[in-house]
């Protein structure tokens, strides 16, 4: 089974709530109310090997829960899911050795050290042979133009530079699937363009399956042929960017962002 297969994923969270105000705080010392939230409410899709898919939706819609399940760090309550034939949560270590992840908000690099040191440590973590490591790192260094960044401690990098390093760190073990969670967040226009170009090249040249979650519709338009829109734990739309536009008849002139917003509002009302 190649690619990603997802059937009917369900996941419910239990959340402790606290009352407002001073008396609420005092009461909270003794007991709390538990509320259930259905983060995934029967999600199904399949993604072919080497596809680049945009996964969009508002905050709390279930995007990151899906990514957590697919990356093996969260077990769903129900449903099935395979990534290149592997069931993510059943053999975490084997699975995560084959995937890469980038979170735009968090760096996996060691903050106080030159980025080269981070790469060396990742070599140990992923048990890469010297030959393998040298080859991939050489490739990535060239692709991401990292040479001049090597001696710089991560804390002194610009966000764009750090993002390039983080992308390289996620690819150092040649994963077959990559999850990018808002990789362009906070970047300036030039850095965004560079990063998009890089994402697209990784996908084309290395044949890596990419799932891109983002709030930036320009990312989606620039990169993805296919988009999945999620809301309230369900897949609301799944198709090409053009399909999404066409779903709004008069929408040929409308920005994609506006289309998504309208679609979402419509679904929420239903």
């Amino acid at each position: 089974m190649s690619g990603i297969e997802v059937r009917n994923l369900v996941k419910t969270y239990r959340i402790a709530e606290r009352e407002k105000g001073l008396s609420g705080s005092v009461k909270g010392l003794f007991k709390r109310h538990i509320r259930e939230i259905r983060a995934l409410d029967g999600i199904s899709f399949s993604i072919g090997r080497g596809e680049l898919v945009g996964y969009i939706g508002p905050n709390g819609a279930g995007k990151s829960t899906t990514v957590k399940v697919l990356s093996g760090i969260l077990v769903p309550d129900g449903g099935r899911c395979t990534v290149n034939g592997r069931i993510p949560w059943e053999s975490r270590k084997e699975h995560v050795a084959r995937i890469g992840t980038v979170f735009g908000q968090k760096s996996q690099l060691w903050w106080d050290l030159p980025v080269e040191e981070s790469f060396d440590l990742l070599k140990e973590i992923y048990r890469l042979s010297d030959k393998q490591y040298k080859e991939t790192l050489g490739e990535l260094t060239e692709l991401f133009e990292l040479k001049e960044l090597y001696p710089v401690p991560v804390r002194q990098m610009s966000l764009g530079q750090r993002m390039r390093c983080d992308m390289a760190a996620a690819l150092i073990h040649s994963p077959d699937t990559v999850f990018l969670d808002e990789p362009t967040i906070g970047l300036d226009a030039v850095a965004k363009l560079t990063l998009r170009e890089l994402i697209s090249r990784i996908n084309r040249e290395k044949g890596v399956t990419v799932i891109l979650t983002t709030h930036d519709m320009d990312d989606v338009e620039a990169l993805c042929r296919r988009v999945m829109l999620i809301g309230h734990g369900r897949i609301l739309r799944d198709g090409t960017v053009e399909d999404l536009r066409r779903a709004y008849k008069d929408g040929s002139e409308v920005e994609l962002e506006e289309v998504v917003r309208r679609l979402y509002r419509e679904e929420a009302l239903r």
Partner: protein
């Protein structure tokens, strides 16, 4: 006064959020108190030398120390430390308030709220629950003379004020210091030692006693505790208050001088 009161209230509320931490602290303190009492008990039984106070008073002293631990100025305000480091202290300067008084209230509310959260469970445990568990000899014995209570409460309130003025002054030194955690650590160790938290002050060698009574940290814990347990007779209570008031004024003025200097420093440095 309104903004100050509102401020007190929010601060208190945010502290209550840390419920696990609050319980944990309380349990830790019971534990520490019991260890200390068992150790003292063993020392008393091992030796026929005369101790500086009866065991039951020493036990009471330990429990009061634990109950009012939250009040001690043993650390600096982490928020202040952060504000100095990320430069947001400048915004404090923009507030239309008397800066030193505002910081003093900030410290007061902090010390008061951490104290009040722990006092009641600690005292209930030490005075009521321990005897019920059959551990009466480890319990805090309440004074028989009703006059002790009001005099002691005044002294505790003065201790709280003293703690807040010390905290304020220490917080302000952050403006100049490189590492806040260093200041905090040193302040903490001196305060815990010289307030009588580690060992009741009367246990220290007799030749140190005069110094120990007149140093500022005596009024934080040693003084009020010994008024409660009866180790300091009622006739000497006004003198104790006097000492506390002296140090309160001393640290309050020190804080004002430091604030003025700090404001100048910030104005020059730009935070």
């Amino acid at each position: 006064m309104r903004p100050y009161i509102k401020f007190l209230k929010t601060r208190f509320q945010s502290l209550l959020q840390y419920r696990a931490a609050a319980w944990a602290g309380i349990v830790c303190q019971f534990f520490w108190g019991i260890i200390m009492i068992m150790a003292l008990e063993a020392f008393y039984r091992s030796s026929d030398r005369t101790a500086p106070m009866e065991l039951s008073r020493a036990v009471g002293y330990i429990w009061l120390g634990q109950a009012f631990l939250g009040m001690l100025p043993w650390n600096i305000d982490r928020d202040m430390d952060r504000m100095v480091r990320d430069g947001s202290l400048c915004y404090e300067l923009l507030k239309p308030l008397d800066l030193h008084f505002y910081w003093f209230l900030r410290a007061f509310s902090w010390r008061f709220s951490t104290m009040i959260l722990r006092v009641i469970p600690q005292l209930i445990f030490a005075a009521l629950i321990l005897p019920m568990l059959g551990l009466g000899e480890w319990a805090l014995i309440l004074p028989k003379n009703p006059l002790v209570y009001p005099l002691w409460v005044v002294s505790v309130f003065l201790a709280l004020l003293l703690s807040s003025t010390i905290t304020t002054a220490a917080n302000i030194t952050l403006i100049w210091s490189v590492s806040g955690s260093g200041t905090s650590q040193l302040l903490g160790s001196f305060v815990t030692l010289f307030s009588g938290m580690v060992v009741p002050l009367p246990f220290f060698p007799d030749r140190w006693q005069a110094f120990l009574t007149f140093q500022p940290f005596h009024g934080l814990c040693d003084g009020p505790n010994r008024i409660f347990t009866g180790d300091i007779p009622l006739s000497r209570v006004p003198g104790e208050w006097g000492l506390q008031v002296f140090w309160i004024l001393f640290f309050f003025l020190l804080g004002r001088i430091l604030t003025a200097a700090g404001q100048k420093h910030l104005a020059v440095q730009g935070g």
